[in-house]
């Protein structure tokens, strides 16, 4: 047993309160924390754009005929950009933002292994985003985020080329970021932290980074061929000149299926931290959760063709069905382990926890519909219908986005030294949870009834259900602004907190909030078990942390006014 008097190591001199300025965030910086915030803010910006596009899509779908869009192409551009922005400019960079901010802190490190590369990877994102949106002015891409040729080659305007170039940049950014994570996690763990003592978020980022390094080159390769077909007259995907349309689909999904895990695994890591901390209980089945991330990463490379069940040569459908079924098992292990974590805990209903619980209850629906989709005969009926749209929004919104929200409420105090407003947070949660459900659950039904996806003009028999979906979606859209307002408001007026407001055992909380540029004074010693809640040692460690980094003195409860410290940091 580690002694409880010296769990933190390092020096004990006090850390000067850092005062980062806004300008620091607007320019090149190699501080992983600044880069992390740059990722987070940039992706929030694109979230708003992607969300606005979603609102336009739902507006168009209020009626079975074209009304908002003047023609079908315009509508196709809306969902093409919506999908591309949400995946490549919102969820993936947002997860990279959390990874950047948290991984070095959780490892007790001063920065990432390659700080310059880290900054470079981030700065590829803004130009890529601009490139993508510029497409709007020269004939926007309209072949969907999947951009199947020949629609995306012979039949699409020039914005499609910009789309491919933008994704190319984002792919490179993602690969560079991932290499950095792998090296950081491999080399920069502190004394006393073996792989099996790493926080599960770090495990998840490691699994994600391995996928990114192995899979993303396939995307960039396929994009290169697509660009060549479009601008250099080659015919990799043109059957009339010896090319093959399925080549793109195979290579694209060889990346894009693993990309699903790139988008969800870091969230799985975050939810493990949030559940253990706010339920005051050790994570249930630590090794199973850590290893199941790796299993998902591995098996995730063998399931891509289930996206092509209606195109794939028939003999290949069954093998891909089997692998796709198998991948449900490690995901199930995680869900059950998280439920086990709650069992016997002391659950605190913070907003972070509410979103984590909301995730559990919604994500399981996405998992169940995923197994249904894996079953070939059922998939044949619902493939490319709203059932699929529903499924991937349950895993991407009910999964990734709920977890991003949870992570924001959990780590905002670390990043800013202030809590997000919990009352607004609960309002945000309740409205999001309900409107999310009524936006996406009915889409299962529309899909089972046969409504194809990606259509602006639909059979009038689907009108009622689409109106229900659209109105719920509008509410869901509005909830975003509660979060944005809360972020801005709490940044200047949120309740100030100390180093460790949630009394969490992982290392990022063993330094001031926000941490100084060099993160820690001296080399911090991690507590022996990142999830060792419920022991005297843990309580003693947390008390010692509070003594070392005393929380700001609380005002008497009557004083609801913001603290008198100078605002604006």
């Amino acid at each position: 047993m580690a002694s409880i008097t010296a769990p933190m190591g390092g020096e004990t001199r006090s850390i000067p309160a850092p005062s980062p300025r806004i300008a620091d965030y607007l320019r090149w910086s190699i501080d992983h924390k600044i880069i992390g915030v740059q990722y987070i803010v940039t992706s929030l910006f694109f979230f708003v754009i992607g969300g606005a596009l979603a609102m336009l899509i739902r507006w168009e779908l209020l009626t079975p005929t074209l009304d908002l869009a003047t023609n079908g192409s315009q509508y196709n551009s809306l969902f093409t950009l919506h999908g591309t922005v949400m995946i490549f400019l919102w969820v993936i960079p947002m997860m990279a933002g959390f990874g950047n901010y948290l991984v070095p802190l959780m490892l007790g490190a001063k920065d990432m292994a390659f700080p310059w590369l880290n900054a470079f990877a981030f700065w590829l994102i803004p130009p890529a985003g601009i490139l993508l949106l510029l497409g709007w002015f020269i004939g926007p891409p309209e072949a969907g985020w999947t951009s199947y040729p020949p629609l995306s080659t012979l039949y699409s305007p020039d914005g499609q080329t910009l789309w491919a170039m933008a994704l190319h940049l984002l792919g490179i950014s993602s690969i560079l970021g991932a290499i950095n994570f792998i090296v950081t996690i491999r080399n920069m763990r502190p004394e006393g932290m073996g792989y099996w003592q790493m926080p599960l978020f770090v495990w998840a980022v490691l699994a994600t980074a391995i996928i990114q390094v192995l899979a993303t080159p396939f995307l960039t390769g396929a994009l290169t061929l697509l660009i060549l077909d479009r601008v250099a007259g080659t015919s990799f995907f043109d059957p009339s000149n010896g090319g093959d349309v399925l080549l793109w689909q195979n290579v694209f999904w060889f990346y894009s299926h693993p990309a699903v895990y790139i988008m969800i695994l870091p969230g799985f890591g975050m939810v493990s931290e949030v559940l253990a901390t706010h339920a005051r209980k050790p994570i249930f089945g630590y090794r199973a959760i850590a290893l199941s991330s790796m299993a998902i990463a591995l098996v995730g490379f063998t399931v891509w063709a289930h996206h092509m069940f209606t195109a794939l040569q028939p003999e290949l459908r069954i093998p891909f069905m089997i692998t796709s079924m198998i991948i449900a098992v490690p995901t199930g292990i995680k869900i059950f382990s998280w439920l086990g974590t709650l069992w016997g805990g002391k659950i605190h209903f913070t907003t972070a926890m509410l979103f984590a619980l909301g995730f559990l209850s919604m994500f399981v629906i996405g998992g169940i519909s995923g197994v249904m989709l894996a079953s070939v005969p059922v998939d044949i009926h619902v493939h490319d219908t709203y059932f699929v749209v529903s499924h991937f929004h349950f895993v991407l919104f009910g999964g990734s986005v709920f977890l991003i929200y949870s992570g924001l409420y959990h780590w905002f105090p670390k990043i800013t030294g202030r809590l997000l407003d919990e009352r607004l947070g609960k309002l945000h949660f309740v409205l999001t949870y309900v409107s999310f459900f009524f936006t996406f659950f009915p889409q299962h039904i529309a899909g089972l009834e046969g409504m194809p996806r990606r259509i602006a003009v639909y059979d009038p028999m689907y009108t009622n259900i689409n109106q229900l979906i659209s109105f719920s979606a509008f509410v869901l859209g509005i909830t975003t602004f509660i979060l944005l307002y809360n972020l801005v408001h709490s940044l200047v007026a949120g309740e100030r907190v100390g180093a460790n407001p949630w009394r969490s055992l992982t290392l990022e909380w063993a330094t001031t909030s926000p941490p100084p540029p060099y993160n820690f004074v001296g080399d911090p010693v991690p507590f022996e078990d990142p999830y060792g809640y419920g022991t005297e040692e843990a309580t003693a460690y947390l008390d010692a942390l509070d003594r070392r980094f005393p929380p700001p003195t609380k005002l008497p409860p009557t004083a609801a006014v913001p603290h008198p410290e100078p605002a604006g940091d």
């Binding site: 079908g72 969907g144 209606t310 195109a311 069905m321 659950i347 493939h383 990606r454 809640y533």
Partner: protein, 384 residues
């Protein structure tokens, strides 16, 4: 008896667990019963098998859903921190048996599901006796179905509606004229992509007479949503044949008037005009190209002056060289038809072109023909 004793000690965890699982299974079965309320009519032999499989999935999925939500709600209520309680929960790190169980049971479930799915897959896709072959062409943004005519090798019955009858197994042989499409009949639970450069197939056997929608399920461009057709399942072979024989009759005795012939060709759905143009007279509702109601009037009033062509020349160009004179406000999306290569999907023999143009020339308020049909004839014979 043992059971009696444990009945009286109502805290026995085994009994609780058994009761909970019985409830979950019951709940799953109830949820599965909702399937017929949601799914479209079950109009093929395949649909029945797929629906049964779906019900199994729904029952298992429903039970798992109830299990997870139940455990979640129970934990949230039972293990909530009471106000002021600053203590931690129990220091429990895992339970090897439990973890083994919740790995093994899902593994067995997905294994069983894979086996059942495989069986359904094999039986729904296997070749049937006496299949009727229908050729399907997907072109932006219409479907066209073509049937061989017995004893007339060169004749094909073309239709924009898929006709068949109860009990006749079908094999659809599908080709795309431009981009990928997907042939989808919700009521039959079948879907298959049309891939450029390949021929793909799908089979089904209708079992319920009726008229059901056919959709395109693979994004194919601006008119994707309106790329729809109907399938008419006649109750028996006789009613089907009365439709089919009428069509053959028309083919064998083509009307002499090119205008009537043109109208017949266009309404057969052999060419993909309906998906892009609106023409009320023929039931076209496409919106990708110009509205063709009153086309002849418009050609005379604006296009003749804009292009310097006679109306018949202009319309001929619209079919064989559409990119040369674009209608303002529209992109170059109209497919270019040609009269040289009979095997290409864009093939439109000169005779068909002549008839189509002759018909298009009558699309004006008064119904008069605005073109010089003799001139059209000589243009056509030059092309041949």
């Amino acid at each position: 008896m043992d059971a009696e004793r444990s009945n009286t000690t109502n805290s026995s965890p085994v009994l609780w667990i058994i009761a909970a699982f019985a409830l979950l299974i019951l709940g799953g079965l109830l949820i599965a019963e909702t399937a017929p309320l949601i799914l479209p009519p079950e109009a093929s032999a395949e649909a029945q098998q797929v629906d049964n499989l779906f019900k199994i999935l729904l029952a298992i999925g429903g039970a798992i859903f109830l299990l997870v939500q139940g455990a979640l709600v129970f934990s949230v209520i039972r293990f909530r921190a009471r106000p002021g309680d600053k203590s931690d929960g129990v220091a429990l790190h895992g339970n090897a048996t439990l973890e083994f169980v919740w790995t093994a049971i899902p593994a067995v479930i997905v294994l069983i599901l894979s086996i059942i799915s495989f069986q359904v897959w094999v039986s729904t896709t296997s070749a049937k006796d006496n299949e009727m072959v229908v050729n399907v062409t997907g072109a932006r943004f219409t479907w066209s179905f073509s049937y061989a005519v017995p004893d007339h090798e060169n004749l094909k019955v073309n239709s924009s509606t898929l006709h068949t009858y109860v009990g006749q197994s079908l094999k659809m042989v599908m080709q795309s004229a431009d981009v990928n499409h997907a042939f989808y009949i919700p009521a039959m639970r079948i879907k298959q992509d049309l891939l450029v450069g390949r021929t793909t197939e799908i089979r089904f056997t209708p079992t319920l007479a009726g008229d059901y929608p056919v959709f395109c399920a693979e994004l194919c461009g601006s008119g994707h949503g309106s790329m729809r057709a109907r399938i008419v399942v006649h109750p028996d072979e006789a009613t089907y044949l009365s439709w089919f024989d009428d069509e053959v009759n028309v083919l064998l005795n083509p009307p002499a008037d090119p205008v009537v012939r043109g109208q017949q060709i266009l309404s057969s759905g052999q060419y993909p005009c309906a998906g892009c143009h609106t023409l009320t007279e023929l039931g076209w509702t496409g919106v990708t190209g110009p509205n063709q109601n009153g086309l002849a009037d418009r050609v005379v009033k604006t296009r003749v002056a804009a292009t310097g062509l006679t109306p018949e020349e202009y319309l001929l160009h619209s079919l064989y060289h559409p990119s040369e004179y674009l209608v303002p406000g529209f992109g170059n999306l109209m497919p270019q038809f040609q009269a040289n290569d009979p095997n290409a999907p864009s093939y439109m023999p000169v005779e068909d072109m002549e008839a189509i143009v002759a018909y298009l020339c009558t699309l004006e308020a008064s119904g008069e023909n605005v073109c010089n049909l003799d001139n059209l004839q000589s243009l056509a014979s030059q092309l041949k």
